[in-house]
């Protein structure tokens, strides 16, 4: 993939194809001035959730599998299982089916407990299906839309509808805390490169690269992100996508594209968005903020984000890890899967007509960065992160596992 890279502030130094920046000891190659790239590194990346006010969760927040399990026990056993030294057993027991199977792996093995979902009309995100009212189309199922607090209408964010009343998934909830910490510590990084702008122009048609990077986001000691750093595009082409877009009135939007971003949840993972769109406000000081939204396949999403536990961990550990996450975030796997399927609004199955993917939105903040083309080693399978990385790993350590 040929990338053209130019330094900022209009000083044009064009670099050729992969791996050929102005390295030579002689005078630099004559620059071909054809446009000005604007690169960004995302400094904050999490689900676009919102408080939603009292109308969002009028019946209250969701109940965790742990609490449901405890409630189902006779008092003596309940008291016993509530003891501190029984914490791990409780986590495991709370997601064990009658046949002893892991319900976060096999959510269809227990009845749906009908988790509370968002009832209000407010959410952030992007209009993904192109309709004003969420009626069914060739590629989407009928569903309710949202309006954002800043007045954007016809937002598709069914994932928020499912998870918006789960304590851990609400703003500053524990899921956001852990995943933000993981992002800031460099477990996964997202780059955006806006290419093809005419020199001197701020509006126009562009090509937008959305990539993962194996380099951590640089932060200063006080937590401020450092602008104009250089980060390299991920060596695995699976984690790169390019879309057409345009900038108008200081806002960048892109046409739909399928993309995958490298992600971790205590083990290597990925966020896969179908028909993804980017909407970024380009601020005068060079920063950017906005949303990346698209459809996540429900099965893929569930098994990546709720069926937790490193591949090489024992079954017992997987029970504990997945059960702990559900307990501390406040959901139950069975109901989550049911709700995801029920509220899915994209990519209907040809045979059944049921939608298989769910609209999701991520909130993004970014600062300027130089997006460096990957070296020409070609596609490399991504190295799995260490089994004990990430917030689940921290959990395990906290539990002494």
């Amino acid at each position: 993939m040929v990338e053209r890279l130019m330094s900022r502030a209009g000083v044009g130094v064009v670099v050729g194809a992969l791996g050929m920046l102005a390295l030579s000891s002689g005078p630099s190659a004559a620059p071909e001035v054809a446009g000005t790239d604007r690169g960004f590194v995302v400094t904050s990346f999490y689900y676009a959730n919102t408080d939603g006010g009292p109308e969002a969760c009028p019946d209250g927040l969701t109940v965790s599998s742990r609490d449901m399990y405890l409630a189902s026990l006779p008092p003596a056993e309940r008291a016993e299982m509530s003891k501190v030294d029984k914490e791990l057993n409780l986590y495991a027991a709370s997601i064990r089916s009658k046949d002893g199977k892991n319900l976060c792996r096999n959510p269809d093995l227990a009845p749906d407990a009908h988790m509370r979902t968002v009832q209000g009309g407010t959410a952030f995100g992007i209009n993904l299906d192109g309709t004003d009212d969420g009626h069914a189309t060739a590629n989407s199922c009928a569903h309710e839309k949202f309006s954002s607090p800043s007045g954007v209408k016809a937002v598709d964010n069914q994932f928020y509808r499912v998870m918006g009343c789960v304590p851990g998934y609400r703003p500053k909830g524990i899921d956001e805390q852990y995943k933000s910490a993981a992002y800031r510590s460099g477990e996964y990084t997202v780059l955006i490169n806006v290419m093809g702008l005419k020199p001197g122009a701020s509006d126009g048609e562009v090509t937008v690269g959305i990539y993962s990077s194996a380099n951590p986001v640089p932060f200063a000691g006080n937590g401020t992100p450092i602008a104009n750093a250089s980060l390299t595009v991920h060596p695995n082409p699976h984690f790169r996508a390019v879309a057409h877009g345009r900038i108008a009135g200081g806002v960048l939007t892109t046409d739909p594209v399928d993309l995958s971003l490298y992600h971790t949840v205590g083990r290597p993972s990925e966020i896969a968005l179908k028909g993804a769109r980017l909407r970024l406000e380009l601020l005068p000081d060079g920063r950017a903020k906005g949303f990346l939204a698209g459809y996540q396949d429900v099965e893929f999403l569930f098994h990546h984000q709720f069926d937790l536990g490193a591949p090489e961990a024992t079954e017992q550990v997987k029970f504990i890890v997945a059960g702990a996450a559900a307990a501390e975030s406040g959901y139950d796997c069975v109901s989550v899967m049911s709700a995801l399927k029920r509220l899915a609004d994209g990519y209907p199955d040809k045979a059944s007509g049921r939608c298989t993917a769910i609209s999701s939105a991520f909130r993004i903040e970014a600062v300027p960065a130089f997006v460096i083309p990957p070296s020409d080693e070609g596609a490399r399978p991504v190295k799995p992160a260490a089994a004990d990385s990430g917030w689940v790993g921290r959990w395990l350590r906290k539990l002494g596992l």
Partner: protein
């Protein structure tokens, strides 16, 4: 390069043969009386390098070192004035014990001791003597006398008797050698010159020491000590052979780096701080890389390319890391380590003075300073000391940075130039430093300050310029740039101010430097093989401070 130098040397030898002056057969260099023999304290870097070269680079040197003192503009000259204070001695003792303990421990004794004792739990005179004689020669930079060696062996035996361990006994005898004045200081010895009755010369070991610390910034290696022992360093040919060996070695880089670090005042990096709110891109990593960048740029130009010293102020070739990338606002491909980088031909960054290692070092934590930068250029690079401020400065004239009338530093420093008591000195510093105002306190490029455009015009001793590249050209063309380098290198080599009587020799050296294309390794060679470098005389007439720095 070695071949070229060899050719030049052969030429000089022939020329010298034809110009024999009173038995001293240098080429057409004016004779000098030399300077007094003064002992010089090892710097931290010299100490560490000596330990690494003598005992191995895996021996850890922990602990802090006393600060060095700058005199006549150089730490190398201050080394001739400092001593060891009580807390400094405490530190030396602590380090010495730790080093000796490592050298004899189980992981190192087999490779660091030249012999094994008959029994590990008893004294062994012969092996102790062999061990201590070997290291004594390297540590003291000359062979240990037999009487002293016997004393040290006695120490080792006594200690072995108490501890019951041969190696532990060795450590007790070795540690004091590491805090002895003969290790901590470069103590030179003069002897009567057999060729010139009534005149003194440095002995071979002292010459070995001077050569080694000048060219490699470390203690003399075995080859150099052997050359001294065999009397080679009493002949011009023998000296040249060693000098050429050392110039051809990759270790020449360490020597040049040590000089540049001193010359450019890089010890100030130890306490460099920038406001973290205003400059989040700054951290210790950036400071370290900025320092290293200047040294790499200089080594590349002066040693690797054997280039013209003056071009250092105009070069757009440098090296970058990812931590420096954001400060320079350029892409850096290498994910780790250094990569070469060339700024485009019209880039305002040109020359050492525009690198972060200069602009950030000579600025305040919260803003730039034309005065600090101008002062640094005058004093460090041009060897022109700036007088101290007068007693009754009226600072009421200097306004604050948020005053709307004085948005740029140039505006604020107008009073410096208008007020007569201030102007005398500030007109020496400010016009030079104002050329670099496009670089903020961190060294990042900016076009405006507080919304007002920056005017980077100024002049240096009559040469006018309008941007930093112009300043670089003015530095290139200024004769003081070159004479300062020559004088500083000579002062660095000899550890003292230049004596009045040496000035003709210094002028000659400057002429040769020009004729040699302003090449630093060649200059080093001239100094290292000169009579002047090794000449010793009793206390001589010191120059006044202003001239002593030239």
């Amino acid at each position: 390069m070695t071949r070229g130098v060899g050719r030049r040397f052969a030429f000089a030898l022939v020329a010298a043969g034809m110009l024999a002056l009173a038995g001293c057969w240098q080429d057409d260099a004016p004779p000098t009386k030399g300077g007094p023999v003064v002992m010089r304290r090892l710097s931290e870097e010299q100490y560490r390098q000596s330990i690494a070269d003598i005992f191995g680079s895996d021996i850890k040197v922990a602990g802090r070192f006393e600060p060095d003192v700058r005199k006549n503009g150089l730490l190398a000259v201050g080394a001739s004035a400092v001593t060891v204070t009580p807390s400094g001695f405490e530190q030396s003792d602590g380090r010495a014990i730790a080093i000796a303990a490592q050298v004899v421990d189980k992981d190192h004794r087999d490779t660091r001791a030249p012999c094994r004792p008959a029994s590990v739990t008893a004294a062994d005179d012969a092996c102790a003597a062999q061990f201590l004689r070997h290291y004594g020669r390297l540590l003291f930079r000359h062979p240990m006398g037999e009487a002293r060696l016997r004393q040290r062996v006695g120490d080792a035996n006594r200690a072995t008797a108490v501890t019951g361990d041969f190696y532990s006994g060795l450590a007790y005898a070795l540690a004091p050698m590491l805090y002895s004045p003969e290790f901590l200081f470069r103590m030179e010895t003069s002897e009567p010159d057999p060729e010139h009755p009534g005149v003194a010369r440095l002995d071979g070991f002292s010459k070995a020491s001077r050569l080694s610390f000048l060219l490699w910034n470390t203690t003399p290696d075995d080859a150099l000590l052997t050359a001294a022992e065999q009397g080679d360093l009493d002949t011009r040919k023998g000296i040249s052979r060693q000098v050429d060996r050392m110039l051809a070695s990759p270790r020449l880089e360490s020597g040049v780096r040590a000089f540049l670090t001193d010359f450019l005042g890089f010890d100030e990096f130890d306490t460099l701080a920038k406001d973290p709110v205003l400059y989040p891109a700054f951290n210790q990593r950036v400071a370290g890389d900025a320092r290293e960048q200047v040294l790499r740029t200089a080594i590349d130009q002066l040693v690797t390319r054997d280039g013209d010293y003056r071009d250092l102020f105009a070069t757009r070739r440098t090296f970058l890391t990812r931590s420096l990338g954001p400060v320079y606002n350029v892409p850096v491909r290498a994910e780790t380590g250094w990569e070469p980088h060339a700024f485009p031909a019209d880039d305002p960054r040109a020359g050492l003075l525009t690198e972060v290692g200069f602009t950030a070092l000579h600025a305040h934590p919260g803003r730039s300073s034309p005065t600090l930068r101008g002062k640094a250029i005058r004093e460090l690079i041009l060897c022109e000391p700036v007088p101290a401020p007068p007693a009754n400065v009226n600072f009421a004239l200097v306004q604050d940075t948020t005053n709307p009338r004085f948005r740029t530093a140039r505006d604020r420093l107008t009073a410096h130039r208008a007020e007569p008591t201030c102007a005398g000195c500030h007109k020496i510093m400010d016009p030079v430093g104002l050329a670099l105002e496009n670089f903020d306190a961190l060294g990042a490029y900016r076009v405006t300050e507080n919304g007002a455009p920056i005017d980077a015009s100024g002049d240096l001793d009559g040469m006018k310029f309008t941007d930093p590249a112009g300043l670089g050209k003015a530095m290139h063309d200024n004769p003081a740039t070159v004479s300062c380098l020559v004088g500083s290198l000579y002062r660095y080599a000899t550890g003292r101010a230049i004596d009045k009587a040496e000035q003709p020799w210094q002028r000659w050296l400057e002429q040769r430097f020009a004729a040699d294309g302003y090449r630093v390794p060649t200059l080093l060679r001239r100094i290292a093989t000169s009579d002047a470098f090794f000449a010793v005389a009793p206390e001589t007439q010191p120059l006044p401070a202003k001239e002593a720095m030239k």
